[in-house]
């Protein structure tokens, strides 16, 4: 599955864990131990950091000195943080529809039509899923300075589109390929025009996948650090703000508090959307794992 790349510590991995437990059919003791160890390794550090955001000490380390909400109170006054958060949200909200648009078009083009250079176009699109983000970030920086475009949140957004829309292409093409081509023909045969077929058959069948793609794109954009770092100029996205704040040791607990808060909201949101999708799908007799994994 393509989406494995770029898993950040907060969102999609928690989704993976959640689906894993849902599939339970009676686990052996060994499996349970393995699961606990894996979960501990994955989530232990995050939980620990979250716990330290309530610790009454500016040093992140044992022993606990007592429970406090002071860091959260101070975080409220950290205007730079909230500004960067707003920037990240704005970018993610703008990047998501653009990626869906490009992804849907390219997925349709690549899976429904046979044309010259189809292979070349396809590899070109999927290249950005394979090239390390560090390289993409650096190339973005070089490119923007070569064409003399001033770095800003706009350039960050553009780069996010570049890295995230192929994900939509991949998820949707997998789904389109799985669709029986005769379903399209059946619709035409029964008197529907191409447009009606798109509206009544193709889009409804792809909607869950489009929804899932949107969740992935949003979280990729929102959480991306490395590409944003190279192409943001003097502007800050939230991950950049976190990174730059880490250098002032005294602020660490504040960063910690904000990060905990943001992660918490993110987890709630994504798990919520996921559940919503799953319930809607199950009502129609589908399994969300088929829709997203495309396998």
């Amino acid at each position: 599955m393509v989406a494995v790349r770029g898993l950040n510590m907060t969102s999609p991995s928690s989704v993976g864990f959640w689906t894993l437990t849902r599939r339970r059919r009676g686990t052996s003791a060994v499996e349970s131990v393995f699961l606990v160890i894996m979960a501990g390794l994955l989530f232990g550090p995050i939980v620990l950091l979250a716990a330290f955001s309530f610790n009454d000490s500016s040093i992140i380390g044992f022993p606990f000195r007592g429970f406090t909400l002071d860091w959260y109170r101070e975080a409220m006054d950290e205007s730079a943080a909230w500004e960067s958060l707003r920037a990240s949200l704005t970018i993610a909200i703008m990047v998501t529809p653009v990626c869906l648009f490009l992804g849907i078009l390219s997925a349709f083009g690549l899976s429904r039509f046979r044309f010259r250079f189809r292979g070349a176009v396809s590899s070109f699109i999927f290249l950005s899923l394979v090239i390390p983000w560090l390289l993409i970030g650096v190339s973005g920086l070089i490119f923007f300075s070569a064409v003399e475009v001033r770095l800003s949140l706009w350039t960050v957004g553009a780069m996010h589109v570049v890295i995230a829309f192929p994900l939509v292409t991949a998820l949707l093409s997998a789904q389109l390929v799985r669709l029986d081509p005769h379903i399209h023909e059946a619709s035409l045969d029964l008197g529907a025009t191409e447009r009606e077929t798109l509206r009544h058959v193709i889009v409804p069948l792809l909607l869950p996948t489009i929804g899932a793609s949107a969740v992935f794109v949003f979280s990729w954009s929102f959480n991306n650090f490395i590409v944003s770092f190279f192409t943001a100029g003097f502007d800050n996205t939230f991950p950049i703000w976190v990174f730059s704040s880490l250098r002032q040791a005294g602020d660490l607990p504040i960063v910690n508090a904000i990060a905990t808060l943001v992660s918490f909201v993110q987890i709630i949101l994504i798990v919520g959307i996921w559940q919503l999708l799953r319930i809607r799908l199950e009502r129609r007799g589908h399994d969300i794992r088929d829709v997203v994994a495309g396998a």
Partner: protein
């Protein structure tokens, strides 16, 4: 009122690049007829069907649906519906909504849609599954829904592309009988594509046997079985013993007598070589296995022809006994007999395989290019 055919193809040809998939075929299918296109895979039957449905455009020729020229019409403007081999039900819609899809696109009133859908579902006995999703149905049930979805629009022609291909044998037999009943009940003309000759014989009013993009023979199942026009038809429809013979006497192109491999002469009563063969030419005699009679001695009888054979194998098949025989020049024959008493033991004395000269048919070996 002018009585026009439900479907008429005139010299329809389809080329894909340099490959001729369908080679100038013409046929006329009457209203309410159950018509089959029968042939091995790659014979052009599916391409023909797709041209009728509108998914392929003929390279040349005319196509009339219900009396109207329609070779250029897109699928959604044609009065045809297609039942796909894969059923192609819409997975996100219930059985009811799948069947209602056509009437809804035709902008029928809600009330009419409900009535039409109910009628169609009742016809295929799927009313009680109306609210299920295709996923929750068995193969046979999906088949029924696909059929209901096809007949609900009352098309001029319902096209069926090997619709029973995915079902197991028992269910297939049941569905064959039911399909025929449904067709009679709704009175819609069915054009049925299959490679299964037994299925075509069971279901069809008429069959077009296709081979290499052409129609080899067009006729009722009985005509094709009893009087195959070509060697291919004889071999493809039903089981046949094909015996190479030499044409002996000819009367203005009509074969009168042939010489069998054993040297015996035989009078020809039934043939499809009119004005077509010459004396000394080789031809093929078609004898069905159930018409071969095994005898220990050659009984001299003017109405019987015979070959000396040796029994290779005898297989008890319940209602019949199948005998595998070999004759001169590597000729292999099979015979079916109801009575096991007349069958000699394997490897025993040579015996005679005989048949009545009324129960055989002569076809030419050279390819004929005339219209069937």
């Amino acid at each position: 009122m002018i009585d026009h055919a439900a479907l008429e193809l005139i010299n329809i040809t389809k080329r894909f690049g340099s490959i001729v998939a369908v080679d100038s075929i013409s046929l006329r299918v009457e209203q309410g007829e159950f018509f089959s296109l029968l042939g091995p895979s790659g014979c052009g039957k599916s391409t023909t069907l797709r041209m009728i449905a509108g998914f392929e455009t003929p390279s040349s020729g005319q196509l009339y649906l219900d009396g109207q020229e329609g070779s250029e019409l897109p699928p959604f403007r044609r009065s045809t519906n297609l039942v796909f081999q894969s059923y192609a039900l819409f997975p996100h819609l219930s059985v009811r909504d799948n069947v209602a899809y056509g009437p809804k696109r035709a902008r029928k009133s809600k009330r009419d849609i409900a009535r039409l859908v109910e009628d169609a579902l009742r016809t295929v006995k799927m009313m009680e599954y109306a609210d299920r999703l295709p996923k929750a149905l068995s193969g046979g049930q999906r088949q029924r829904v696909a059929l209901a979805r096809g007949i609900v629009n009352r098309p001029a022609v319902l096209l069926l592309d090997e619709p029973l291909g995915a079902l197991d044998l028992k269910l297939r037999r049941e569905m064959q009988i039911e399909l025929k009943q449904i067709q009679r009940e709704v009175g819609i003309c069915f054009v049925y594509v299959t490679h299964d000759q037994e299925e075509a014989l069971t279901l069809s009013d008429r069959i077009a046997v296709m081979n290499g993009g052409r129609i080899e023979q067009l006729g009722t199942p009985e005509e094709i079985y009893r009087h195959p026009r070509t060697r291919f038809c004889a071999d493809f429809i039903g089981e046949a013993n094909l015996i190479e013979v030499t044409v002996d006497q000819v009367d203005s192109g009509r074969p009168l007598q042939v010489v069998l491999p054993g040297g015996e002469s035989m009078r020809v009563l039934s043939h499809s070589c009119d004005g077509f063969v010459e004396a000394g030419e080789s031809a093929t005699l078609v004898v069905r296995p159930q018409h071969l009679i095994l005898q220990p001695d050659r009984s001299v009888h003017a109405e019987m022809a015979g070959l000396k054979v040796r029994m290779d194998n005898s297989i008890f098949q319940g209602s019949v006994v199948r005998s595998e025989l070999s004759g001169v020049d590597g000729l292999r024959l099979s015979a079916l007999s109801v009575d096991s008493a007349q069958v000699n033991p394997v490897g025993g004395h040579p015996q005679w395989a005989t048949w009545s000269i009324h129960n055989c048919h002569l076809v030419a070996n050279k390819e004929r290019r005339t219209k069937p």
